[in-house]
Symmetry: C2
Subunit: 184 residues, 2 copies
């Protein structure tokens, strides 16, 4: 799947952010769209005294436009256009910034990134639900899981600084449709 197989034509020159893919339930996200994410990030950067540059904005917009994990090279490709070539390394730098600020998250199991519209801190126990069928991803907080994990870690004498919790499977929407390829 690593590849440039499908690119839903999303954006021309201007970055019109139509969000026409709600293939997955996506309830937990609170229903914010790409534009909301970008706006919120811009506000927060002002608050924090950080530069929300065009590159960073565009990278965030590109990630937010898709509700599935995007690789850095995918992002670079989507942002590039006749007249503007965006190198992957630039995307990585923007991604570093956005990740630090909590605007995007890295999905280790996919070497990819997703945008985040929440305002949880870095320490929040996030769970990522990745659908094998539609490729969509959902992010949610799970206090019960978090506290159970905290207790487990404390029992092991381990002091956590960061966590990764990614679940792969089939989302409700795909299961309902029986998209798996068989099943019924």
């Amino acid at each position: 799947m690593r590849g440039h197989a499908q690119r839903e034509q999303g954006q021309e020159d201007g970055h019109g952010q139509e969000h026409g893919h709600d293939h997955h339930g996506h309830d937990a996200c609170g229903g914010h769209g790409a534009g909301d994410v970008v706006e919120r990030a811009e506000r927060l950067c002002q608050t924090r005294g950080l530069q929300f540059t065009r590159l960073r904005r565009d990278v965030l917009a590109a990630v937010a436009a898709e509700h599935k994990p995007l690789g850095a090279y995918d992002i670079a490709e989507r942002m590039s256009a006749p007249g503007r070539r965006v190198a992957a390394v630039s995307v990585y730098r923007a991604l570093d910034f956005l990740t630090e600020q909590g605007f995007v998250h890295r999905i280790s199991s996919r070497n990819a990134f997703v945008s985040c519209g929440h305002d949880h801190g870095e320490g929040a126990g996030l769970v990522f639900l990745i659908c094998r069928t539609c490729g969509g991803i959902d992010e949610m907080t799970a206090p019960a899981v978090e506290s159970a994990l905290d207790q487990t870690l404390a029992g092991a004498g381990f002091t956590p600084t960061s966590r990764i919790l990614e679940v792969e499977g089939e989302c409700g929407a795909c299961r309902g449709r029986g998209d798996a390829g068989e099943n019924a």
Copy 2:
């Protein structure tokens, strides 16, 4: 070619007070050593009617010899010797096999692998504890976390097929020693 590994390797013990990697009590693992892991794997392969070849055995032994995540190229390097050159691709294939059989686990956040002496199924909710200070890794089962996660997923209508739960931080031994910044 790639034999350019600048990464910390070796660092086997060799001093009485090794800040190496048998830091963790490692109780959860049942105290098995590398040999145990290999033996167990051999038995299970026989039971399952699978080939436990020399390559696979050696790869497993190499991984089991270190109690920290090892990259595929690291493994290849360690296994190579005058007279036997092991290509990374071979290691990957062996690793695929070993992972499928549950003898090793992949650590997504590190692009690396660790051996496993447990006999849990693939579905078990494993937690990996990676110490930033000593680089050691511990694996444990956490039923409470697992059940909380199951419930959360069920509530979201998500059907899981695999999970990744990796925690980075500082293990008890390192914290006790205050290894955080000093020492090198």
